[in-house]
Structure formats: structure tokens, C-alpha cells
Symmetry: C2
Subunit: 148 residues, 2 copies
DNA sequence: AAAAAACTTTAGCCATGGCAAAACCTGAAG
DNA sequence: CTTCAGGTTTTGCCATGGCTAAAGTTTTTT
């Protein structure tokens, strides 16, 4: 039970992990609604087939996830018909896309190649706080300006 | 089936998400081995109780996860005794800690407060590629130098 | 050495997100 | 107007990571 001076304080750390676990819960939802929104914008409708192809999962998996989104009021659809977003879903999609953009642009600004920036931002966007996003935006602008 | 010019190419995006799902699989392992390593360093041993307290989960959950780590050869322990890391586990802990540091330092350098940097880096470290980590390190040094 | 406290393990439950395979609609071609 | 290809849904299966509650060991206290 030796009292240490290091930062192994249960409370702080535990809280951080709890936040991360919560984030995980919404991550999937965000990714799906963002994709659905993109699909609707680009081709007028979102089909299960396309969703599963883009997410890289089987249709069964996509169907299950969409059922959850529906249950949670983010998505609407009638059997065998294409998928729509509710207002909440649209809002979530927009916020997710914006965060995604900020992180992606930042990574590009600091010299990360397109592919990698795409992959990294996809993973990181969900874990960046507003504070961090703001800082990234600021930095991105700064870097791009300096280049002029 | 209208062919679009936008970047909704299944393959690229699907691959990115696949990578993220893989990352998720190792995230938990990394967080646990890092914590176990810290505990051993700081108090000489890692007990289930401490692990669960720091991760903010019940001991049952921690026990289950540690059983998986054991199965995967990252951790060693005898019933009712404390927990050790294998070589692999130690290696993973060190790599995780290093990535964590890089992200944390970077966030601090761009002005994020300690608490937030702690939380954000905990979530982001798992999704930053080597390329991004290298860029963060470079930027951190740059920022700190400019301040001198 | 017995009793109490502290810790670990186990059992059983739940939701999520994977999968494969089968059953089921819908809409185009014939 | 029937067929059949292509989507969609459903059904079961698995692992993970949560939880509570109960049972089993150590360790400490009395």
C-alpha cells in the first residue's frame, strides 16, 4: 500500500476510460449515419447493400446495426425500402462530418498523406474534444497561412 | 447505380473501417497491459482490485479481460496471486506508453489543458499511425523550440 | 486458531457487432 | 405474367466487454 507520487489515481483515470467507453457506443452510430447521409447526397438513396459494402461488413451485420439506429430514432425505413435519416440522425451526421473534416484537414496540413489521413481521422475524430478540435482548426489555419 | 465522381469508393473506405475495427480489438489489451506495467512499476505488483479500480470496471469484468490477455500470452498469473506481464505484454505496454506520451505531449504543446489532453490522448493514441505520430513529435518539438 | 475482512474466481445475465446460411420480397427480363 | 437475379430480412452462432451475485481463497485481526 505504499503511497506513490505518480499519477495512478484511480478516479481520474477511471473517468477517462469511462468516457472512452461511452464514446465507443456512439462511434458506430456516427459512422453509419455519416455514411448514410453521404450516400443519400451522392446517389439519392441509401441502400443496405451500399452501406454494408462501404463499411466493409456483411449485410446481416449492417442490417442489425441499422435496426439499432432505428430503435434509437436516428434512422427511418420501411421493409425492403431504402434508408433515411431522422432529424436527429441528420444532425448527428453533420456534426460527425464536421469533426471528421477538422481532423482530416489538420492531418493533411501537417503533411500526412491522403490515405493515412483518411484512415487516422476516421479513428481519431471520435476521441477529440471540442477543445482539441478548436486547437486543430487554429493550427491548420496557421500552417496554411505561413505557407503563403 | 449512377456512377458518382465523389469519394464513396467502397474499397478504400471499407479498408479504413476494417483497420479501425482491428484497432478496437487491441485497444483494450493495450490499455490493460499499460496499466499493469504502471502498477508493477509503482507499487511492485498488480492486483486485480487495483486494475479494476483504475479502469473503472468491476473486478468481474477485469478478471474476464485478464483471462483473455492470459490466453493471448500477454499476461501471466497464478490463481489468487498477482499479475505479471510476459515479454510480449511488456513490449506492448512500452509501445503503447510511448505512443500515449507522444500524443499527450503534442496536445499539451498545442495548448490543451492537462485533464483534456489526458482524456483525448487516451482515446486517440490507438488510432494514430506511425506517420501521424512522427509528425506530432516533430510539431511538438517545433512549437516548444519556437517558444524559447 | 477462529473469525472477519479483503480479494479472486465463477456463474449467469445483457447488448453489441461480427459471421454464414436460409428464407423472403421486389423488380426487371424474358 | 412468370421467372429469376438481386436486395433484404431473419435466424443462429461466436467473442467481447459490461454487470450482479455467490462461492471460494488468502490474509489479517482478534
Amino acid at each position: 500500500m505504499t503511497e506513490t507520487k505518480a499519477d495512478t489515481r484511480p478516479d481520474r483515470r477511471a473517468a477517462a476510460f469511462a468516457r472512452i467507453r461511452d464514446a465507443h457506443q456512439t462511434e458506430v452510430a456516427e459512422d453509419y449515419v455519416e455514411l448514410i447521409d453521404d450516400l443519400i447526397a451522392e446517389r439519392g438513396e441509401a441502400r443496405l447493400v451500399d452501406v454494408s459494402a462501404h463499411m466493409g461488413v456483411t449485410h446481416a451485420t449492417a442490417a442489425k446495426i441499422i435496426a439499432r439506429l432505428k430503435r434509437e430514432g436516428l434512422v427511418l425505413n420501411r421493409p425492403y425500402r431504402s434508408i433515411f435519416l431522422t432529424e436527429d440522425g441528420t444532425r448527428m451526421a453533420n456534426m460527425a462530418r464536421q469533426r471528421h473534416r477538422v481532423v482530416f484537414d489538420f492531418l493533411r496540413a501537417i503533411g500526412i498523406d491522403r490515405e493515412t489521413a483518411e484512415a487516422d481521422s476516421e479513428g481519431m475524430e471520435h476521441h477529440a474534444s471540442d477543445q482539441t478540435l478548436a486547437a486543430m482548426e487554429r493550427l491548420t489555419a496557421e500552417i496554411l497561412n505561413r505557407r503563403t
